[in-house]
């Protein structure tokens, strides 16, 4: 007997930054159905944008013939987002978060994506099998307002 009804949404698009707007719209509409308010929705959009931007840039190196897939599943308690690629993979343990001030001193214009995901979501978890299936799972709890 299922106790919670899950709603599942999925989107696949060519690996190009021009599709980030569609990805954010997808996340925003699913997030709104899940019960998040406007200020939470922009955070969800941002976390998923960062995840997909990394796939487009790093996993696939801007090869637009590849595909980015996003799955979003929610029930009453939480929204889970899964971003899947079959690109080159990496070891997330090796990426150390540097403070913005330090990045600026090193004249870096990047290095915030994974930090943001962790700040914005309640759980962020990678499962990497380079060239096969690299999966990023993120969870955001739905806070009941009453």
């Amino acid at each position: 007997m299922p106790t919670a009804i899950e709603s599942t949404f999925s989107l696949s698009v060519p690996s190009s930054t021009r599709n980030l707007a569609l990805i954010r719209e997808f996340v925003s509409q699913v997030g709104a159905q899940a019960g998040f308010d406007d200020s939470e929705l922009i955070k969800l959009e941002l976390a998923v944008d960062e995840a997909c931007t990394n796939v487009i840039r790093h996993a696939y190196g801007h090869d637009t013939s590849r595909e980015v897939s996003i799955k979003a599943i929610f029930d009453e308690e939480e929204l889970r987002i899964e971003v899947v690629d079959n690109g080159r993979g990496f070891d997330p343990e090796l990426i150390k978060a540097e403070h913005v001030r330090q990045l600026i001193a090193e004249r870096k214009a990047g290095g915030l994506g994974m930090q943001l995901m962790k700040l914005l979501m309640d759980e962020v978890h990678y499962e990497i099998s380079p060239g096969k299936k690299n999966e990023l799972k993120m969870v955001k709890k739905i806070l009941k307002r009453n």
Partner: protein, 122 residues
């Protein structure tokens, strides 16, 4: 599709005002980067980025602010940010950009800040 991102440029004395409109993500950030680069190349280093019509920013957009600030401050200029709406301001706040950049409510306040604090040191 309506242009998702646009930049309107104006001047106030030696200050360049860039009104950015739409969303600033990994797709549109290169256009913003080129615009700032062009100003810096001409020695225009007193820049206000007015974000009143900015609807969204990701780390790719924030990166443009980060990539130029040291060079601009070394040259005696600064980037002041104005007009952030509540939703977008949240994103700047999460990363504590307000400890590094002067963030003002509107363009007049940003111009005023340039007169008071030409370069933010922290």
């Amino acid at each position: 599709m309506p242009n998702p991102f646009a930049i309107h440029k104006s001047h106030q004395d030696d200050i360049v005002i860039l009104n950015i409109e739409g969303y600033l993500d990994a797709h549109t950030a290169p256009q913003f980067e080129e615009t700032i680069q062009a100003e810096v190349d001409q020695g225009k280093v007193r820049i206000i980025v007015d974000c009143e019509k900015l609807t969204y920013i990701s780390s790719a957009g924030l990166g443009v602010f980060m990539g130029f600030i040291e060079e601009i401050r070394e040259q005696g200029g600064d980037i002041k940010i104005s007009g952030l709406n509540t939703k977008v301001k949240q994103i700047f706040d999460i990363l504590h950009f307000d400890t590094i950049y002067d963030i003002l409510s509107d363009i007049p306040a940003a111009i005023h800040r340039f007169a008071e604090v030409p370069i933010r040191k922290d």
